[in-house]
C-alpha cells in the first residue's frame, strides 16, 4: 500500500492552445492537510479535477493511494470526498434529504447515513434547518451543507475547493475547526483557498501554483522564512507578483 495519499507525476493538461498544467509533480502524504494555492486560472481546479477523475490529463499520471485516477477511477471515487467550488446541492430537497441521497450514492447503510447526517448537520450548524428545503437556505448555509455532502461517507482523502468562500467569519471559524478535527482523525485534506490566513492557520504544508507550474512547496513557516517576509500572503505576492484577493 502506498505511503503517499496523492502522487502526481509530470501532469500536463492542455485546453486547445492553453496550458493549464505544466509538468506538475507533487506528493501529498497521508494525514497531511495540504494547501494548494494560486491565483485564478493558475491550474488548481484543473489539478483537483484530474485527481478526482473528472477530466483526463494530456500527459502524466495522478494516483490516489496508489490507484490511478484514470484507470482505477471507480476505486478512487470511493476513497475521496470532494467539496466542489460550485454550491451544488439539490434545492428541492431538504438538507437532510441531500445528505441521505449522497449517503445512498456511497452505498452506506441506513444507520450510518443517519448517524453521519446528524453529526455533520450538527457540526455545520444546520440541525435546526435540516428539514427545510435548501432553496430557502442562505449562501453560507448552502456552502456548509455542500461541505457536509463531500464528507458524508467519511472519506480518507478530502478535496476542499474554496470551502469557506462567501461565509461569515463565525461560520468560517466553525468550518476551520471542523477541518482541523478531520485532520486530527488522520484524514488527508487538500485545501484550495484564496484566504492566506486560512492556509497559514490550517495547512501543514502548502504548494503555490502559477501558470500551471508548482513554484513553491513547503510548510508555511519554511516559505515565510525562505522568502524573508512576514506572512504567507507576502510570500504569494513575492512569488507570483500578484495579490491573491485582487484576483477573486
Amino acid at each position: 500500500m502506498s505511503e503517499q495519499a496523492i502522487t502526481i507525476k509530470n501532469l500536463t493538461k492542455k485546453y486547445e492552445d492553453k496550458l493549464a498544467l505544466d509538468n506538475l509533480t507533487l506528493q501529498v502524504n497521508r494525514g497531511e492537510l495540504f494547501g494548494l494555492l494560486g491565483p485564478n486560472g493558475a491550474g488548481k481546479t484543473t489539478a483537483i479535477s484530474i485527481m478526482c477523475g473528472l477530466i483526463k490529463p494530456t500527459s502524466g499520471t495522478a494516483q490516489i493511494k496508489g490507484y490511478d485516477t484514470q484507470k482505477d477511477a471507480q476505486k478512487v471515487k470511493e476513497l475521496i470526498g470532494v467539496c466542489i467550488q460550485e454550491t451544488a446541492i439539490y434545492p428541492y430537497l431538504t438538507g437532510k434529504e441531500n445528505l441521505e441521497l449522497f449517503g445512498n450514492l456511497y452505498c452506506l447503510n441506513k444507520k450510518t447515513i443517519k448517524e453521519r447526517s446528524t453529526m455533520l448537520l450538527s457540526k455545520m450548524g444546520l440541525t435546526e434547518d435540516a428539514k427545510r428545503l435548501t432553496a430557502k437556505y442562505s449562501g453560507g448555509m448552502k456552502r456548509r451543507l455542500s461541505l457536509a455532502l463531500a464528507l458524508i461517507h467519511d472519506p480518507e482523502i478530502a478535496f476542499l475547493d474554496e470551502p469557506t468562500v462567501a461565509m461569515d467569519p463565525q461560520s468560517r471559524h466553525a468550518v476551520w475547526d471542523f477541518i482541523k478535527e478531520q485532520n486530527t482523525k488522520g484524514k488527508t485534506i487538500i485545501l484550495t483557498t484564496h484566504y492566506m490566513e486560512e492556509a497559514e492557520q490550517l495547512c501543514n504544508r502548502v504548494g503555490i501554483i502559477d501558470h500551471g507550474k508548482l513554484i513553491a512547496l513547503g510548510t508555511p513557516k519554511e516559505l515565510i522564512a525562505k522568502n524573508h517576509v512576514k506572512n504567507l500572503e507576502e510570500v504569494f505576492i513575492q512569488l507570483t507578483g500578484r495579490n491573491m484577493r485582487e484576483e477573486v
Binding site: 471515487k77 470532494v82 466542489i84 439539490y90 428541492y92 441521505e100 441521497l101 450514492l105 456511497y106
Partner: protein
C-alpha cells in the same frame, strides 16, 4: 450496478417533480386542465371539414341497378370508391382505418328498385331493401359527412322528385346503433399523446439544470456509474409517465369517454403510451445534449415537441393531407393512430394496423432513447 443508488436517484427525481412547481404543472396539471377545458368545451359538439373519403363497397346484388349506384357514388368528387368481394375484407379495412366507410349493397337491391319503378305511387307493392353503411368511428368528419352523401346518391337512383323522398331502399348506418360520439371522443386518443410530448421539455430542463448548478459534476465525483445514473433517470421518468398516463385515462373516463373495449385493450393502450413516453425521454436527452443552458433547452425542446404535437396528436386530425403524410415521420402519429383504431374503430390488439403502429413506436422508442443516452453520455460523461 447498485440498486441502492438507482433507487435513491429515482426517489430524488420523483421528489423534484412533485416539489418543483414548473415540472409539476407541465407534467400533471397542464394535461389535466387541458383535458378538462377541452372536454367541457367540446364534449357534445361536432365539427367538420371537406376531404376525400375512401369508401369500400360490397355488391351482393351484382345487377345493373347496383352498378348504377356504384357509378353514381364514384362520380361524387368527395368519394373514392373501391369494390370489395366480401363483407369480412371490407370490415377489416374499415377497422384498420384504410377506408372511412363500407357500403353493403343487398341481394334484393335490384328487385327493390324494379318494384319501385313498376309502381312508383304505390308503396305497398314495393320490395323493401336495406343498404348497410359502416363508418369509421375514429373519424369525426367521416361519420358526419358520408351518410348524407350516400343518402343523396340513393335518392338519385329512385325518383328525386318524390316530395318526401319515399323509397323502398333504406340506408342503415351502423354507427347509429352505438352511443352518439362527441368531438371529445374523437380527440381523446390524441390527448394521451399530447400530454406525453411535454416530457421532452421536462427532461431537457432537468438535465441541463443539474449541469448548470454543478449537480452533475457532484454525481460524477461520486461512485455512481453512468449506467446507474441513466437507469435511475429512465426509471423515474417511466414512473412519472405511468402516473401521468393513469391520470389521463382517469380524466377522459370521468369526462365521458367510454370506448367499448375490454381490459386487455386498455392495458395495451397504457403500455403503448408508456413506450411513447420513453421515446420522449430520449428526445429530452438529445435536447439536453445540444443545449448549454436550461433556458436554451426549453426553446430547443420545441424542435421535437411541436412536430409531434401538430402532426401526431388530435391537432393533426384537422390538418391537410400533406401534413398527414408528414405525420408519418413522427412517433406520436402512430400512437394516436393505434389508439384511435383500438378505441374508436374497434380494431383488435392483434390486428395488423395496431401491431404495425406498436412496432413503429417501440422501434423508434428504442432508437431515440439509445441515441439520447449515447449522445448525452458522450458529451457530458455522466
Amino acid at each position: 450496478m447498485k440498486t441502492q443508488r438507482i433507487f435513491a436517484l429515482t426517489k430524488k427525481e420523483l421528489k423534484k417533480t412533485v416539489r418543483e412547481p414548473a415540472a409539476l404543472f407541465m407534467i400533471f396539471l397542464f394535461p389535466v386542465v387541458f383535458v378538462l377545458a377541452f372536454g367541457l368545451s367540446f364534449g357534445g359538439v361536432g365539427g367538420g371539414q371537406t376531404v376525400t373519403y375512401q369508401v369500400g363497397i360490397v355488391d351482393l346484388s351484382n345487377s345493373q341497378w347496383s352498378e348504377t349506384f356504384t357509378d353514381s357514388l364514384s362520380n361524387v368528387t368527395m368519394l373514392k370508391v373501391t369494390a370489395y368481394g366480401d363483407n369480412q375484407t371490407v370490415q377489416t379495412d374499415l377497422s384498420q382505418g384504410k377506408i372511412q366507410a363500407a357500403i353493403i349493397v343487398p341481394e334484393s337491391f335490384s328487385e327493390s328498385i324494379t318494384s319501385y319503378y313498376a309502381a312508383p305511387e304505390d308503396s305497398s307493392k314495393w320490395v323493401n331493401a336495406t343498404v348497410a353503411l359502416y363508418l369509421d368511428k375514429g373519424s369525426m368528419v367521416a361519420t358526419q359527412a358520408i351518410p348524407p352523401i350516400i343518402q343523396q346518391v340513393l335518392n338519385g337512383i329512385t325518383d328525386q322528385n318524390q316530395p318526401a323522398h319515399q323509397s323502398p331502399i333504406q340506408l342503415q348506418t351502423a354507427s347509429l346503433e352505438v352511443k352518439q360520439v362527441s368531438a371529445f371522443d374523437y380527440f381523446a386518443p390524441g390527448m394521451f399523446t399530447f400530454a406525453s410530448v411535454f416530457m421532452i421539455m421536462i427532461v431537457a430542463q432537468s438535465f441541463t439544470g443539474d449541469r448548470e448548478n454543478g449537480m452533475m459534476k457532484r454525481i460524477r465525483i461520486s461512485p455512481t456509474t453512468p449506467t446507474e445514473f441513466m437507469a435511475s433517470q429512465v426509471t423515474s421518468y417511466l414512473i412519472i409517465a405511468l402516473i401521468q398516463c393513469a391520470i389521463m385515462f382517469g380524466m377522459v373516463y370521468a369526462l365521458g369517454f367510454r370506448p367499448n373495449i375490454g381490459l386487455p385493450d386498455y392495458a395495451f393502450a397504457f403500455i403503448l403510451v408508456l413506450v411513447f413516453s420513453l421515446s420522449n425521454v430520449g428526445f429530452g436527452l438529445i435536447t439536453a445534449s445540444i443545449a448549454k443552458t436550461s433556458g436554451a433547452a426549453t426553446g430547443l425542446s420545441f424542435l421535437f415537441l411541436l412536430p409531434q404535437m401538430f402532426l401526431g396528436t388530435f391537432v393533426g386530425a384537422s390538418l391537410s393531407g400533406a401534413a398527414e403524410v408528414a405525420g408519418k415521420a413522427v412517433p406520436s402519429y402512430y400512437v394516436t393512430n393505434a389508439l384511435t383504431s383500438l378505441f374508436l374503430r374497434g380494431a383488435a390488439i392483434t390486428s395488423p394496423t395496431v401491431l404495425i403502429d406498436f412496432a413503429v413506436v417501440l422501434g423508434s422508442c428504442i432508437g431515440i432513447l439509445a441515441v439520447g443516452i449515447v449522445i448525452y453520455a458522450k458529451y457530458y460523461k455522466v
